[in-house]
């Protein structure tokens, strides 16, 4: 077990830096635009690093890294897709228009952008409710993963870890709003890049380079979920093929409509920031996700060469690898990289959930818009409530939280992706079409999780649907349903007013 005292001292120094950034954010925050979209004056490095650090949580590194041990290098498709879809397409196809349209319409949250584009309080309220319900559960899961790692490595109790992390994040978030969140994200993102990036260099070095490492992995032969070997793809149509493609496309495409990521586009100072953010974001993903997946797969060789038993749970693969085979200084560095991954994701989720409850749901949808300072106070109070709720759910998680967390990614993508595309690109889309798309996409996803998707349906409703249908990710049902609904219902309803469309698309060529 690594030295607990050293860890505590380093944690205090780390927290002091984060709180100082929070204080700087506090000085820079004057009103709602500063708190919610960082004054729309953020530069390329901060936008891109914050985007990446928010995207990549401890779950992505520890959880998916562990999955790579099981699936082998075929999971590299996921990191490829995260770079191409999650960064390049997201920034180029969605980023520019999101920034301009949100500025023109004065939208300060992701649901507010869609709501203002379609003049609908319902859209904002419904969007806010979906974000609040699913992202609070997701945040609880992010904290749970980190606290478990700290418990394994340093023997600090799970409860203490959760409470300490929550307090640190709460302090800097409540001090400086999105300014604090994005700047701390950037520092945390740099720690992630160093800690995680170094891991692959060390693994490759110990295995004699890229090609010898791959050859050693291939020589291990077939595995349960890599029947053709750990450096080969599964055969088309097989169970492992369904599992891995479902995972890859589900996560890759789902990334396009996550509110905590889309809000970053609204903070960019100008178009140049987004253009320059593309390579920074892509390289960040390479140095984190690509590394985690490669190391996860190569851990099979590392464990074999060193006579270490492969952990029974995929979540323990990376922690076991680090704790058993790396020097203690690296254990600290890696742990702070994971801590940074968790905190950067959690602070962004707290921020987006707090504004969903305070601004989208209460202020705009229910109270029909409060006055300036009152509106700000409501959002801040809602953020405190969200943080407290997440803390309680992390400490005493009811069964429902595990399900909501599993549903979170797919449910949010199915609710927002089609409306987001229509908001930015389809002038003929109508309010009714968007509402049908949001409600229908969410309903289809939840029904699929409950009755068909074998992983969840077998527990919730005890139904066992055979593959391939039972292995199909609900996102593949929810997203097409929501696209079909927005098209059909929009074409069946009255065209939107041309004057409003012209205003919404001002500055978009």
């Amino acid at each position: 077990m690594a030295d607990t005292v050293t860890f505590v001292i380093m944690l205090i120094a780390y927290s002091a830096i984060m709180v100082y950034i929070g204080y700087r954010g506090y000085k820079a925050t004057k009103g709602a635009t500063d708190w919610l979209v960082a004054g729309r004056r953020v530069g390329a490095w901060v936008v891109a690093l914050s985007y990446g650090a928010t995207f990549i949580s401890a779950v992505a590194i520890i959880g998916f890294g562990g999955q790579a041990q099981v699936f082998g290098l075929q999971l590299l498709w996921l990191s490829t897709l995260v770079i191409i879809v999650g960064v390049i397409i997201a920034f180029i196809v969605f980023g520019y228009r999101t920034r301009i349209m949100s500025k023109t319409l004065g939208a300060l949250t992701f649901p507010e952008l869609i709501a203002k584009r379609f003049n609908s309080r319902f859209i904002q309220g419904f969007g806010g409710a979906v974000i609040a319900i699913f992202l609070i559960a997701y945040t609880a899961a992010v904290f749970k993963a980190t606290a478990s790692l700290v418990q394994i490595t340093f023997g600090i109790s799970y409860e203490t870890s959760i409470i300490v992390f929550t307090i640190i994040v709460a302090v800097y978030l409540l001090l400086g709003g999105l300014f604090a969140v994005m700047w701390t994200d950037s520092v945390q993102g740099l720690i992630m890049v160093v800690g995680i990036g170094l891991l692959l260099a060390m693994v490759w070095a110990s295995l004699g380079g890229v090609i010898p490492a791959n050859e050693a992995l291939a020589a291990l032969g077939p595995a349960k979920y890599a029947p053709n070997g750990l450096t080969s793809a599964s055969s088309f149509g097989s169970v492992s093929f369904m599992l891995v493609t479902s995972l890859i496309f589900g996560v890759g495409i789902g990334a396009l409509a996550q509110p905590q990521l889309a809000i970053r586009f609204m903070t960019a100072k100008n178009a140049k920031v987004l253009r320059q953010g593309v390579p920074i974001g892509a390289i960040f993903m390479f140095l984190t996700v690509y590394v985690a997946f490669t190391v996860g797969a190569l851990s099979n060789v590392m464990f074999k060469n060193n006579g270490i038993a492969i952990p029974t749970s995929a979540d323990l693969v990376i922690p076991t690898l680090i704790n058993s085979l790396f020097p203690s200084w690296f254990v600290f560095l890696f742990l702070f990289a994971i801590l940074s991954a968790s905190m950067s994701t959690a602070s962004s989720l707290f921020h987006v959930s707090g504004s969903a409850v305070g601004r989208d749901l209460y202020d705009k949808a229910w109270k029909k818009g409060l006055a300036g300072q009152k509106s700000m106070s409501v959002t801040k109070i809602a953020t405190v409530v969200v943080i407290a709720a997440t803390l309680v759910l992390s400490l005493y998680p009811p069964d429902a939280v595990a399900y909501l967390c599993t549903f979170a990614y797919g449910a949010i993508a199915a609710t927002f992706l089609a409306p987001f595309v229509a908001t930015l690109y389809w002038k003929r889309a109508t309010r009714e079409g968007i509402i049908a798309s949001m409600v229908g996409g969410l309903a289809a996803t939840l029904l699929w999780y409950t009755f068909v998707y074998s992983k969840t349906a077998s527990v919730i409703t005890h139904t066992n649907v055979a593959p391939p249908l039972g292995l199909l990710d609900p996102l593949f049902i929810g997203i097409p349903v929501s696209f079909v609904l927005v098209i059909i219902v929009s074409l069946m309803t009255k065209k939107p007013e041309e004057e409003h469309i012209a205003r919404a698309f001002t500055g978009i060529s």
Partner: protein, 44 residues
């Protein structure tokens, strides 16, 4: 097998690097005229 990977996995491996190179060219290549025009549009 190419570099110890089958063709499908190797494609993902090489696509990652192509994506990184594309992002670098896209991000670092100045597009001053377009960006200036956009700024003028927004101001207008």
């Amino acid at each position: 097998m190419i570099w110890g990977m089958d063709l499908w996995v190797f494609t993902a491996f090489i696509l990652t690097y192509i994506a990184i190179i594309f992002s670098l060219i896209y991000g670092l290549w100045p597009r001053k005229e377009e960006e200036d025009k956009e700024e003028r549009n927004e101001e207008g």
